[in-house]
């Protein structure tokens, strides 16, 4: 039994790998849904690095999601660049923006930090709309090709599913590594008591910016994967409301646990599959289900699964 508990992640990986041919019935639709799930897992995990470990609230993470998506979209559609290179370009731009905005934004406190990230999100979206000649504006960018690596094109949903989840696994694994490394411990120290950390000679601002850049890069990857999956991009999918959705995933799953937000993303993205039958009642049902979970499982879905140790160390974002 103990062995099972220790290597539960192997079971999970097996489940993910075997899903399409078994429960998924090789259905491109089911693979498609899980591709969206995977993309949001990356987003949620990237935000958790920022919020869960450093306590920096971001209500504008979709900004980097958008940068990745639109850089991939524009470069592949208008300049014929290979999707892989376009994704790297998106990561570069996101990193640059996060690095440039990082210090001043992260110096703000709590609510004001949140508003600054919201403003950044809005600026990116309004720029996307305003620069119509480049981005297709509010009407959207069409004909984004499927992702491809050196000639192999991921037209098939099932192939793309494996690619996306391989990347998800990489992102989650690297996030865990970062969280448990000395870098991660430093972040937690900064979060717990920044003044004390400073007396130890830690350059808090630099650490915060580094994590911001990393989370931006991951979000950008998610954006690129999203662009090639949708084939069509519109600014509507990158608004502050998307950012807030990602935030909700964090708290639903259990902030600061990496796995928790991943679980939160899975839940929040699969929930509509069930509630969509209720049409007009869908909004109310989603709200009620969320409320029920938040009341009965306030530590998040992952809190059911694991001990309290992690939660004690990270005080959440407030």
């Amino acid at each position: 039994m103990k062995l099972l508990a220790k290597y539960w992640w192997i079971i999970l990986l097996l489940f993910i790998a075997l899903y399409p041919p078994t429960l998924g019935g090789m259905s491109p639709y089911r693979a498609g849904v899980l591709i969206f799930v995977g993309i949001y897992v990356i987003l949620a995990v990237s935000l958790d690095l920022l919020m869960g470990y450093t306590g920096q609230i971001s209500v504008g993470h979709a900004a980097f999601f958008a940068i990745g998506a639109y850089v991939s979209g524009i470069l592949t559609v208008k300049c014929g660049v290979s999707p892989l290179l376009a994704m790297l370009a998106g990561m570069g731009l996101s990193a640059a923006v996060a690095w440039a905005m990082g210090r001043p934004v992260l110096a703000l406190k709590e609510y004001y930090l949140a508003m600054a990230t919201l403003a950044l999100n809005e600026i990116i979206v309004t720029l996307i709309i305003g620069l119509q000649w480049l981005t297709g504006g509010a009407s959207g960018l069409r004909d984004v090709p499927s992702f491809s690596i050196i000639g192999f094109s991921f037209d098939n949903q099932i192939h793309y599913y494996y690619l996306v989840w391989a990347i998800v696994a990489l992102v989650v694994a690297s996030s865990i590594v970062v969280a448990r490394s000395s870098f991660g411990r430093t972040l937690i120290a900064i979060h717990s008591d920044e003044t004390a950390a400073k007396t130890f000679g830690i350059d808090c601002a630099a650490y915060k910016v580094r994590v911001y850049v990393l989370s931006a890069i991951f979000a950008s990857i998610a954006g690129s994967l999203f662009a090639h999956h949708m084939g069509f991009l519109a600014p509507d999918d990158f608004s502050v409301f998307t950012s807030i959705n990602i935030l909700v995933m964090l708290y639903l799953g259990g902030i600061g646990t990496i796995y928790g937000p991943a679980l939160g993303a899975v839940f929040l993205k699969l929930l509509p599959e069930v509630t969509l039958q209720f049409q007009d009642y869908e909004m109310l049902m989603n709200g009620v289900i969320l409320i029920i979970i938040l009341v009965f499982v306030p530590k998040g879905l992952f809190g059911i699964v694991t001990g309290i140790k992690n939660r004690f160390v990270t005080r959440g974002a407030g």
Partner: protein
């Protein structure tokens, strides 16, 4: 330990539910399934409601008359919440999960774009209605709404007759505004109209008198604002507040009872392009549209206590077009259905007489549109 399995069980259960069909009808004959993606919640939910009603009335009418090829039609309806991502998921679900023979609906250009992308990749016909401008590559998409070109040219024709040749544009930030602006500039010269200036506005803004004040300094004879619903009504209200007694042309999306209520008390002269369904009494008996509209209105009135409106009628047309195509193909093959719809000729619907072709996936003509205005709190035909 047990709790881990609980969570895993939850995830497995949820993943199993993906793709399960939400309709539980047990029909004696296998129905033709038509996917319907509509904004039931979100800022366009009022529009989605009209679309849903129109589609359901038409499906009921057809099924009552025996269905198509002896088989009933069945709508599989999902809410797109006006989100392109949600619509994409639904389109994928409809095609691989519910195995529909065609998709219809969407109410806004960006959602249409998302659905069209999926439909063309999967080679399933999509009959959408919105301002979405089709490109040649989208061989599986049809747009049976009156094209934006007509909605803009028709009022310009009216302006030309009345000697109005200097107008200003006040366009919403968003796809409608981008469409409206581009097409207005494209057609203005052919009607000898000069566009003096253009301003943009946020559809959620509480007040647009700033933009109106800016435009007023140019002395336009009319304002064209390709916007729908609350923002259009706000424009009318603000113009009345500022004493601007010039006509305001809005989008054809406003030919609905809901919009009428919003502007009934506003003195501004609002011009709404529309389909003939909104003015049945003025139609000549020999107009093939009249028969269709009268029948549709009767059924709609019976169910909802009010006559059909522009959007419901348009959605009903989508159902009819698909049904006609199925009558021809007599099969469940989506590609054959696409070919059949593409060859629709002389088919009378609420929106006009449809003539499709491989190069024309919209099918209507400018003559199918009329201009409405509001008088004494009711619709009146301008021309």
């Amino acid at each position: 330990m047990k709790k881990i399995f609980l969570v895993i069980a939850l995830v497995v259960a949820l993943s199993l539910l993906i793709g399960t069909s939400s309709t539980l009808l047990a029909q004696a004959k296998q129905p033709y399934k038509i996917g319907f993606i509509v904004p039931l919640t979100g800022y366009l939910s009022w529009l989605g409601e009209y679309m849903k009603r129109g589609a359901e009335v038409q499906v009921e009418m057809i099924n009552k008359a025996g269905g198509v090829n002896g088989r009933p039609l069945e709508l599989v309806t999902y809410d797109d919440q006006s989100s392109p991502e949600t619509a994409t998921r639904h389109a994928q679900r409809l095609i691989s999960g519910d195995k529909v023979v065609a998709i219809m609906g969407t109410g806004t250009a960006v959602v249409s774009g998302a659905v069209s992308s999926v439909a063309n990749k999967s080679k399933v016909p999509a009959v959408i209605q919105s301002g979405y401008a089709l490109s040649e590559k989208e061989t599986f998409t049809f747009n049976n709404a009156h094209p934006t070109d007509f909605a803009i040219s028709r009022p310009m024709m009216y302006f030309q007759k009345r000697g109005i040749n200097q107008i200003a544009l006040l366009m919403p930030i968003g796809p409608l505004g981008e469409l409206g602006s581009g097409i207005a500039r494209k057609h203005a010269p052919s009607f000898k109209i000069t566009i003096l200036g253009e301003e943009k506005f946020d559809v959620k803004a509480p007040d647009v008198t700033t933009q109106l004040a800016k435009l007023r300094t140019l002395n336009p004879q009319a304002i064209m604002a390709f916007t729908t619903g609350e923002p259009a009504a706000l424009l009318a209200r603000n113009m009345a507040q500022m004493g601007m007694n010039i006509p305001l042309v809005v989008s054809h999306g406003n030919a609905t009872p809901g919009f009428l209520k919003l502007v009934a008390q506003t003195p501004t002269m609002v011009i709404v392009p529309s389909g003939k369904i909104m003015a049945v009494e003025t139609l000549a008996d020999k107009d093939p549209v009249k028969k269709v509209v009268v029948e549709f209105n009767k059924a709609y009135q019976a169910k909802y206590g009010e006559p059909g409106n522009y959007y419901s009628g348009q959605q009903a047309d989508a159902v009819s077009l698909i049904a006609e195509g199925l009558k021809v193909t007599k099969s469940d093959d989506p590609v054959k259905l696409r070919d059949a719809i593409e060859n629709t000729k002389g088919f009378a619907g609420n929106n006009g007489v449809y003539n499709m072709s491989p190069t024309d996936h919209q099918g209507t003509r400018m003559e199918d549109m009329i201009l409405l205005t509001v008088k004494d709190g009711k619709w009146a035909v301008l021309e």
